[in-house]
């Protein structure tokens, strides 16, 4: 069972208080009608499925907030978590190690 740091509660808590919410930073287009079928497919279905650091979303039952995380999908180790709406942080070397 993972331990996850909630950036809103500023507390590190067991996975059972969280639900996974898929890949992060896939913004819904302001005007979907302007999207081609291919662009819309990418938005709906295409996922990075990264082997290694993966930008993803979780929701904490405690505060009810969705937030973002960078997790290594090989070790399942969380490299960082940050609030929804914050820009995608670039992966620093030390964080990766």
């Amino acid at each position: 069972m993972l331990l996850i740091h909630c950036p809103y509660c500023e507390d590190t808590l067991p996975e059972l208080e969280f639900t996974y919410a898929g890949e992060a930073h896939i913004a819904r287009p302001a005007d979907p009608s302007a999207f081609s079928d291919e662009e819309w497919r990418d938005f709906l279905f295409i996922r990075t499925n990264a082997r290694g650091p993966h930008y993803e979303r979780w929701r904490h039952i405690g505060c009810g907030r969705f937030f973002n995380a960078l997790r290594d999908t090989v070790s399942d180790r969380f490299l960082m978590t940050y609030k929804a709406g914050e820009a995608r942080p670039t992966l620093t070397q030390e964080a990766a190690e």
Partner: protein
């Protein structure tokens, strides 16, 4: 290759089994192949075998980053069935079932295909409606699947608890008698041995780092840990790692990889005569030839390549099994392990050509890949050889995610009201 038979076994027994030769050589890569298959699981090895046998294409390499059969082929709960809801799925899996039926003889390798019957339990009115729909559609598709009352379920599987006050009372079930289990390792080994005998190179412990494309965009080969290997046709059959491999060819996939856990109990004398699946409580159980209860669970909630998986899910799976089969609480878990399953948005496979010339893909089997092994292998071989899909896998395209023609086995079971 020594032909396997009771006679050869006896013969060898008398001379101390000195005469057995290796079942497949440890091949080193050649500079060029007609077809390179990435992933030496049952699907990839099988595809190589059918390429050689049915299409006369023998200059084939199957490349794997690890040992053959070391991925999901050797990590699953070996359930084989074809009683799927949508025609496309039912026909695809039934094709596999037909091949399973003769696989031991075909490969001269006993894969122990055991037609013990697969019983899918209905726990509420919605399940009943959904399974009736399965049963009826299967019947008209000529796929064996029939409805059992809860009493008939109990008679077919005595350890079953059909008490009405159970949290998830059994309201009946759908039984496919032709379905069952098989010895997973034997499938990989059998295909490997038969493919190697027809000249296929099986290259183990050789990671494929990238799929290389020429100026015209077509595939020209693969970069591997053992150097560049030229090939005009590359078929990717790498299960959980498909996204990563395809990405190297510049093709992003509608896939996510999740941990899937399974476990076995200590071996006991025969107690469990069939395979039972309960999608409502996410528990799948059968008893192996060795006597172990083989139990599968649902996927963990987060994507992962760790092949680990957490404790809570296993607790819920075991609890679900003990709720449906209360006599098993004093049985002991012997071993639990995890695999990585690649899942598509509609929970159906992708099997066919890609927008890239010479690149073919077989992925997205989710938790159901093992049962499809001979069928997927057979159809992948066809698609690669003919450069066009077989009618059976034609619906399982990448394009469906653009056009919206999904084959949504998951949604079809969607619960609401």
């Amino acid at each position: 290759m020594t032909r396997f038979s009771a006679f050869s076994l006896l013969q060898q027994a008398l001379n101390g089994h000195k005469g057995w030769r290796e079942q497949w050589p440890d091949s080193q890569p050649k500079a060029e192949y007609d077809v390179v298959i990435v992933g030496a699981g049952g699907h990839g090895l099988g595809a190589a075998y059918y390429l050689a046998k049915e299409h006369g294409i023998t200059n084939v390499a199957v490349i794997d980053k690890g040992w053959l059969g070391g991925g999901n082929t050797g990590r699953n709960t070996t359930i084989i069935r074809s009683n799927y809801l949508y025609d496309e799925s039912a026909k695809l899996y039934d094709h596999a079932l037909d091949l399973w039926d003769n696989l031991s003889q075909e490969l001269n390798y006993n894969v122990m295909y055991s037609k013990r019957g697969v019983l899918m339990l209905a726990h509420n009115v919605h399940d009943v409606q959904s399974f009736q729909r399965h049963v009826n559609s299967n019947r008209l598709n000529g796929v064996d699947n029939r409805w059992l009352t809860k009493e008939e379920c109990k008679a077919f599987c005595p350890p079953l608890n059909i008490s009405p006050d159970a949290r998830y009372p059994v309201m009946g079930g759908a039984l496919q008698m032709r379905a069952g289990t098989a010895r997973h390792d034997a499938v990989a080994w059998g295909y490997a041995r038969a493919a190697a005998a027809r000249g296929v190179d099986i290259i183990q412990n050789c990671a494929v780092n990238a799929i290389r494309r020429g100026p015209d965009g077509a595939v020209i080969g693969v970069d591997t840990a053992k150097g560049f290997i030229r090939a005009k046709k590359v078929a990717v059959s790498a299960a959980g790692n498909t996204s990563v491999v395809m990405d190297s060819a510049g093709l992003r996939m509608p896939l996510e990889s999740f941990p899937l856990q399974a476990l076995v109990s200590e071996p006991v004398k025969p107690i469990f005569p069939c395979v039972v699946m309960s999608n409502t409580v996410h528990a799948y159980i059968s008893q192996s030839d060795k006597g172990e209860l083989v139990i599968g669970s649902g996927t963990d909630q987060y994507t992962s390549y760790s092949q680990r998986g957490g404790m809570p899910l296993i607790e819920h799976t075991v609890a679900a099994i003990c709720e449906v089969f209360p006599i098993f609480t004093r049985m002991r878990m012997l071993r639990k392990w995890g695999g990585i399953v690649d899942v598509t948005p509609d929970r159906s496979a992708i099997l066919g050509k890609t927008p890239i010339k010479g690149l073919y893909v077989n992925c997205g089997w989710g938790t159901g890949g093992f049962k499809a092994t001979p069928g997927a292998a057979h159809l992948l071989a066809y698609t690669v050889a003919k450069d066009e899909p077989h009618p059976l896998n034609a619906p399982f395209t990448l394009e469906r995610f653009t056009t919206g023609r999904l084959i949504d086995e998951a949604a079809a079971a969607a619960v609401a009201h």
